[in-house]
Amino acid sequence: MPQTSHRQDWMGLLARAKPARLAELFPDLPDHHLLRAPEVGAVMVQGRIGGDGAAFNLGEMTVTRCSLALPTGQVGHGHVQGRDKAHALRAAALDALLQSPAADDLRRRILGPLCAEEAARRHTRAARAAATRVEFFTLVRGEDQ
């Protein structure tokens, strides 16, 4: 299960979260002022030649970004896949709040469930894949007997 104690980890978790689920867990935004209003754009995804060689441009993905500050001074950033501005706003607000004294409570109420649900989704896919893993067996041929 991914960690949620480091800023990189919670930002990644919030970016990967389903927007509707995040809205359910975190419906009301705290007081804030926007440093950068939610903006939809594209990020060029890069791959590597042969998987581990020099980089090349694979294609873009849609990303929405947002930055805001809380009245108490913490600054939060959200960069989330897709075009959901509310998602980016929530991710930025939580990024700011997770740097505040409210962090422990939010970690328990929001990051915990998101983390567990993501782990369950991943496990389901991995378990289905594992069931399609080929078990080879060697047939005894007539002339070998």
């Binding site: 998987g51 441009n57 873009e60 993905m61 594992a130 069931a131």
Partner: protein
């Protein structure tokens, strides 16, 4: 004489209104939702994302609905939309060795760490129409087995250990981007891969097939084919570190070819590479064959004049939006051009008759 013509507005408006009605089809039937297209026509959505060169399943599903299922038209809509988006930056190159694989097969090694995982494949189906699908039916719940938490290394890493396969080229330079600067030939391998991954699946497939049939020699094995989700990370300037901004599903193919060796290189296996958005297996395999075929000069191989060895031929004709734009423009009014040709043909005919008469 140039004559400007106007007109047709009413005809165009009426044609578009009729198009909207035809798109909807029989209103006695339920309308398709974007979510239904995304979830149930997933491979069409994947193709539109790959060739539209923009990963966004909802947008691709919308484009398919708007285009009435014409995938090249849908790709056109996505390409047009992506030009309206500001570029927020480039990702850290994705690490496909860390892919959460749902499918992973090798035609070169039977037993390998991580195993052969078939995933949700059409392979081994009998390609018989399944009439059960004509009625609504709930599929069985897929079987599960305890997953192996160990990493799934790339198959070619095993060959690399013995130096039997070439090492991939390394470079820290930012790759050139054909969406920012017009493609220049000869193209770097990075630029070729960008053009191939967004190229038309049918074209790339035919080019790859031609190399298998002898037009440019490849005898490729699928060293490894893997499909799964890969995390995308981006450096955030305000933070000074990289964070995950999402996940994309990718299909990767590393094909392995024989190589006799050259003055500088010992005999070893060489590779072709395919990496494509979504579950796009045919395209990814084809891409790896065409990538390998285009490397003939670098590897000191003979140029047999085959189309798949001709970089200009492949790269300048792979894009179905460029191709369809130029092809379909000839149906638009060319009245003045044609008038000029008509005049010319009449003049030539008159001259030919005059000469004939003079000779008689």
């Amino acid at each position: 004489m140039y004559v400007a013509v106007k007109g047709g507005e009413r005809a165009i408006d009426n044609a578009h209104a009729w198009l909207a009605s035809e798109r909807r089809g029989d209103t006695a039937l339920a309308e398709l939702s974007i979510a239904q297209i995304r979830e149930q026509l997933t491979l069409a959505v994947n193709r539109v994302m790959a060739e539209g060169s923009l990963y966004d399943p909802d947008l691709a599903a919308l484009a398919i609905k708007q285009a009435r299922g014409d995938l090249i038209e849908a790709i056109f809509l996505i390409r047009a939309y992506r030009t309206t988006l500001p570029r927020l930056g480039a990702s850290v190159p994705v690490d496909t060795a860390k892919m959460a694989v749902v499918r992973r097969i090798s035609a070169t090694f039977k037993d390998l760490p991580g195993g052969q995982v078939l995933g949700p494949t059409f392979d081994y189906t009998h390609r018989l129409l399944d009439f059960k699908l004509a009625a609504e039916c709930a599929p069985e719940t897929p079987a599960t087995a305890p997953p192996d938490p160990a990493a799934v290394p790339h198959v070619t890493d095993f060959l690399n250990r013995d130096g039997l396969i070439e090492v991939n080229p390394q470079s820290a330079a930012p790759p050139s981007d054909l969406t920012r600067a017009p493609m220049e030939l000869p193209a770097s391998r990075a630029l070729r891969l960008q053009a191939l991954t967004r190229g038309d699946e049918g074209f790339i497939l035919s080019m790859a097939y031609s190399t298998q049939r002898g037009y440019g020699r490849t005898h490729a094995f699928v060293g490894e084919l893997r499909i799964g989700l890969v995390a995308v990370e981006m450096e955030i300037p305000e933070l000074g570190f990289a964070v995950q901004i999402g996940e994309v599903e990718l299909t990767e193919c590393d094909s392995v070819n024989q190589f006799k060796g050259s003055k500088t290189e010992p005999p070893q296996f060489t590779r072709g590479y395919g990496l494509v958005f979504g579950q796009t297996e045919r395209k990814s395999i084809a891409m790896s064959l065409v990538d390998r075929s285009l490397r003939w000069a670098e590897l000191g191989e003979e140029n047999t004049g085959a189309p798949a060895q001709d970089e200009e031929f492949v790269l300048m004709h792979a894009d179905n939006i460029q191709a369809t734009g130029f092809l379909e423009h000839i149906k638009l009014p060319h009245y003045v051009d044609f008038q000029a040709e008509l005049e010319l043909v009449r003049k030539l005919r008159a001259e030919a008759y005059a000469q004939q008469e003079a000779a008689e």
